[in-house]
Amino acid sequence: MENTEILKIEDIEKYYGSKSSLTKAINGISFSVEKGEYVAIMGASGSGKTTLLNCISTIDKVSSGHIYVGGKDITKLKGNALNKFRREELGFVFQDFNLLDTMTAYENIALALSIQGVKPHLIETKINGIAKDLGIDEVLNKYPYQMSGGQKQRVAAARAIITEPKLVLADEPTGALDSKSAKMLLEGFKYLNEEINATILMVTHDAFTASYAKRVIFIKDGKIFNEITKGDKSRKEFFDDIISIVSLLGGDQSDAL
């Protein structure tokens, strides 16, 4: 793999609240993600993982530290430059799908392209390709309310990847799915990562979901607690490793599972 750093996080901190009652949601986190990596960030509720993702996705701002995406410091971006960055460099998959309910799956995916000014005649081929890859070609003309949760999330994944972003950010993508749908989505992610070489950063508190990633970073109380890589292990072995670390995370373990 060529040595290209897609995401580099340098000692970021994020505080909430006033001086009298300061909450450090993120308390000094640094790590980086290489091109083509598939990283999961795990942690219990309140560990700061969603805040971390929000800061990377520029939905939230860090209190201190720097985040570089493709070498560009995104903590310095403002206004339309931010939108441009988000539109061109990032793809999002949200827990609650965030599909537009007035539009069909096809149109939802197409929207990501048309706001980039992609020529309408190019859109169709692109969508048909990705839809086949993710197994959603059947539902392209359906509305979100006509789809299952898994289908919706795969449509969201297609929307995130279709613009060929540097980095796909997924926030609890399986959170609202049943286990079968979750598995199908994760297979989809795996495909995107392995075949299209998409770089994926996923936040989850579910060990099964995390076990699909190639690397898992554990966060506790706003700090990195541990980090493991899959290497040549089977997914089952990797899952067991994750479980053992989750048990070490202590505290509200049940919540973490």
Partner: protein
Amino acid sequence: MTLSKLAVKNIRKSIKDYSIYFFTLVIGVIIFYVFNAIESQSIALSVSKRAYETIELMNQFLSSVSVFVAIVLGGLIIYASRFLIKRRNKEFGVYLTLGMSKRKMSVMLFFETLLIGVISLFVGLILGVAVSQLMSVMVAGSFEADMSRFNFVFSPKAAVKTGIYFGIMYVVVMIFNTVSVGKCKLIDLLHGDKKSERMSLKNPIVCAVIFVLSAALLGFAYYRMINILKMNDVKQVGFVLLMGAVSTFFIFWSVSGMMLTLFKGMKGVYFKKLNSFTLRQFSYKANTMVISMTVICLMLLLTIVLLGTAFSMSRSLNGNIKKLLKCDLYLYKGMDVSEDVSADETESGILKDLSDNGFEADNFSDMVKYYVYGEDGLTEGSYCGEYIKELTDNYLFVREENLLMIMKESDYNKVAELIGQEKIDIEGDEYVIVGNFEPSLEVRNRLLKENKKITVNGHELNPKFDHCINGMVSMIGTPSEEGVYIVPDDAVSEDMRRYERVLANYKEGSDAQKAAIEEKLIGILDMLWDRDASISYKTKEEMKAASTGLAAMVTFISMYVGIIFLIASAAVLSLKELSESADNVKRYDVLRRIGTDESMINGALFKQIGMFFLFPMLLACVHSVVGFKTANVILESMGSKQTIFSLLSTAAVILAVYGGYFVLTYFTSKRIIKG
């Protein structure tokens, strides 16, 4: 806590949601009160018979419009209450979860509706009185007319009527609420906001068929509308209006169903920027707004026609006074054919009657007395032939059996000198037509070009010119001289006299002196009238007042109703779009999350709101072409016409109010979706 207290608390708590409902109700009450206050105004001004016919026609119009207004408002209120109930689903769910019975919930809603109803009625009536006063002051200021006869005071009849109508509407709303509460399921109430609304897509082929059918129906309604008025079959106007309304509804229904399919076909447009999103939003909303858009479209139509009419009326008013009131007095009297015509002219007639009663001719500085002659069988019908239908179909006062009005050349030239018209020199067997009622002149011009001869008293006369001379021989305040035939003096015999007429100016003096002469004269004339020596009269001063009064009144009512309809429709659209924007905050958030530029989002918002404002306006403009044609029939008989000026003024007012609402809605929506 009693249910009534809970109801009060609820209103306070959800004041934001209620404010839309409340606002709608208050606007409704204001419009209804103001409208009925107009109807109950006495419009029995002393006006000519022709003007009276026009007023009659207008009254018939107003009363059918009034029913329409009531239906519109009823629908609007039920819509607004439905909107409110939907927004509060979750709250109702919590009540049910906590064990409140549906019956109690209905009672609570009853109290809420009652309270809001009473308050809105009260506020609406107060504002309604204020609005009507304000507008009457404004309009009165722009006319020289004595508006004391047309004052807007508090109209108890209108207030009571408003109360009753709205009472009925509130009861309907209560019944509606009770039914909807009875039907609802707890699960739907609690998760109502999460369940995304289904996109009920219409079949585009069905839409296309319906569109063609409704366009055809509309065309037929247009055709009927124009022709019904020609046939004076005013009773059917309501039916034709209904036909127009129904076809309007189905046009909106089908277009809102089709347009998405149409645009989807144009991939280059559809998938450009946020167009797909905007069009989806629009067509989704448009599908649920067919009724409201129909109502708004019809209200806009009324606005356009009323404003256009009002502007042309007010403009032609001053022109008429200057052009048509050329002397101080006009007296006329029908003559008994058997009367002894050989008697000396000073022995009988109008002037004799006056001097017998103490009014001498020396009160006049100039005076012309003349006769209008007629010959049995020489009628409008016999002269105009097949063309007469064009006139009798359109104008109430033109009748086939009317005798042609004939005047001696010498008499005409005396009249012409008095009122400042060019004299006519007839040589030999010729005749000339003088008139100023355009539609009638048009027909006669055609006949003159055909060299139509007439035979008067055995003399065959040829037309001197190939066109009518624009002018008049009387003073009736409107350009409705249909055509007077000026013939050589020796062509008529004195036993053909039909009318005796006098045109005169008062003796030079101050305005007060002239007024005194007029007062004395009218006193005598009124007395003579009682004694059955019927001399009719028109005086410049009286006609000035009446004509101004009538035109001012028509202008006033039209402008008034027009602007109120305009405000109402713009306000409803605006409210709908604002609540739509509030519902859409989440969708715009999604757009932002996937990296859409603010400017692109604003552009989409602008287009969406713009389309909602434009859609009903477009159809209203098409309707108004026919509307203007219809209004012209009425206008022409009052001596007025639609002009470019009136169209431009109408456009300016509409642009200011409607456009203002649009801009306001856009900026407020922009603030709402910023979150």
